[in-house]
Symmetry: C2
Subunit: 377 residues, 2 copies
């Protein structure tokens, strides 16, 4: 039985660390802009974007959902049309559920996100992975898609671009050429690309691209986007036979509220920030070099081309073996130094993102690691 005190505790949930230096891969791309913070308050109430709806989310003129979905998003994604989703995974499932049938095979990269496997399971299709090169670079070679496609004749090809663990960027355009030559539709799963770095579906020869509002578009969650070639619109965005204004795969409307408002409000800043991606890459490489100087080892591609970074941190693990808090010491030490994003308990390998933090803040992160190594020497 829930106690009254437990119940009342819900009313005061808070997030005291939200202004700390954030290096958590999940979170660095979705810290809200000031504009999104204003939209959050304006559109907080349920169904807030539906004030002037005439029956169709993507046709709402105020706020300008119509222009956002039908003009701005396709331009940004390099797609011919777009839809709003609950997140990247939901876009993947919408495509799977529309263009494949149970029993089909889908070819995917070996670094795919767990949710791609779960979406495939939900759609009843089997995934066939193009393997990565293993430790330490975990590289997936685009060219390898050719043989796997030829062997398995899949209904769909998926590439995670970049993958969420190592931040590796496969040659997505080459995969697109291969899929295209084989006549197989191709989906770019870009939860960590769309909104962070320049990425255009057309330039990657893709049929679909999914992005995540709450991963990389400075938006509240759940929110996401799906871009596609026009030829898929009648399949993936097919309308209900009874309710002609409603897309079947969207169950009518998807983002009916505040998360869409934040996605839209941040969009101008997101369009701008992807133009500065080279600065992000330089920052990630500089940070990686500093980490390696300390004796940690960066996994994944080198030189690295994304802010998602994984490191082997044996020295931090060694410490965990002889301190009272075991693996939790690192999380606590970092938190006490104002740094957020170390998974409690994790020490042997760390996944970090340099996207949100400035160089100055990342210097603090490096100094923190140094101080911890020193303290427990």
């Amino acid at each position: 039985m829930a106690q009254q005190a437990d119940l009342e505790r819900l009313a005061t949930i808070s997030r005291p660390h939200r202004d700390m230096i954030n290096v958590m891969p999940l979170q660095t791309g979705s810290i809200l802009t000031d504009a999104a913070r204003r939209a959050l308050v304006e559109f907080g109430d349920g169904y807030s974007v539906c004030d002037y709806c005439q029956g169709r989310l993507a046709d709402i003129a105020n706020p300008p959902v119509r222009d956002f979905v039908n003009v701005m998003l396709p331009e940004f994604l390099g797609s011919e049309c777009a839809a709003l989703t609950y997140g990247a995974r939901d876009g993947v499932f919408m495509v799977l559920h529309s263009v494949t049938k149970p029993g089909d095979t889908v070819v995917v990269d070996g670094n795919r996100h767990y949710s791609t496997a779960v979406a495939a399971e939900r759609a009843g299709v089997e995934l066939m992975a193009v393997p990565n090169s293993g430790h330490p670079a975990y590289v997936v070679e685009a060219q390898q898609y050719q043989d796997v496609i030829a062997e398995h004749k899949p209904a769909l090809v998926i590439l995670t671009y970049p993958d969420g663990r190592y931040g590796n960027l496969v040659d997505a355009a080459r995969v697109g050429e291969i899929a295209s030559a084989a006549g197989i539709p191709y989906l770019v799963s870009g939860a960590y690309a769309v909104g962070r770095m320049p990425v255009r579906m057309d330039e990657l020869h893709a049929d679909f691209i999914v992005g995540s509002g709450h991963k990389s578009m400075a938006a509240a969650g759940p929110s996401g986007v799906l871009g596609m070639k026009a030829k898929w619109q009648d399949i993936v965005l097919r309308r209900s036979s009874l309710h002609k204004a409603k897309e079947v795969e969207c169950l009518g409307c998807t983002l009916r509220g505040v998360t869409l408002a934040t996605l839209m409000a941040s969009f101008p800043a997101v369009v701008e920030r992807v133009k500065h991606w080279d600065e992000q890459v330089a920052k990630a490489q500089w940070f990686s070099a500093a980490m390696e100087e300390m004796g940690f080892r960066q996994l994944g591609e080198k030189p690295h081309r994304h802010d998602l970074l994984a490191f082997e941190t044996q020295a931090l693990f060694d410490i965990s073996q002889r301190v009272r808090e075991r693996g939790y010491y690192l999380y606590k030490e970092m938190e006490s130094r104002g740094i957020w994003g170390i998974k409690p308990g994790q020490t042997k390998a760390l996944e970090l993102s340099t996207f949100a933090a400035s160089r100055r803040q990342l210097e603090q992160v490096i100094a923190a690691f140094k101080a911890i190594l020193e303290k427990y020497r």
Copy 2:
């Protein structure tokens, strides 16, 4: 091509009418509580509820998602377990996709929401409707489920409780007895019940209940809840074979952000407000009587037992035939009087909800209608 000015307009979207008297059926149950407004700001950033996640949304201890999902929600819903969804429709689809197979028949009430039809289409099942009694009451008789079930041997029975247009409340417990006797699983679609009025799945002899955060639980959207009997957990909430912590029908995690924070923060107030449902019903009946005194006709059940109300408003339609703004005059007249929720263009029949407005505010609504009738006499 999107103009720069259009793009920048996204950064300043606003909702100037959000503090007006609100009678829009979609919106009256999801105006945020003060606690939810605080949570909105605290948890605005993407993936904000995942700070302390160890791999499973429903297991997060801080904020107390675990207690909320596993203890408080089941108690509130009268269910044996619960899950977080993007909304009522998404819960309906999760159940359809798990307990039916393409080609199956599902029995539903004739007043069902459009999204139930779209979800059925997405799942490849055919809906068979228990008809309503037609104009003016549109009543669905629970007993009629018996014959329709006997004839069609459905894989699932659904009842919309109440329906979203007339606010009629079918004898849901009787439908439960009938479905139960026939051995057919039974889903109560309670987007306008859960969070507004007392409703318990167990008392309705139901297997499933869905609720909507952004319709009736004072939460931001998209958000929803799904309650069920424990025996369905392994089917509807089955785990991925590869990723054991993740539910297939949820694609892993659903409400990964602010909408869950508002749902939780408002929950204590929601638990409290359903205890005062009798006051809401009395207010709705009082309002309905005042509308009928003006010559409007209430559709749906009488005496009415829900705040969702539909009226035939012929006199307002007659005015629209002779004014310059045609049907839009009513929306404008009401808005200018501080009243929000009249659909632009609608005059012949109006759907209103008395849930959010006080009696004093509803007196203003009645006075507004009177003044408009007088002005255009």
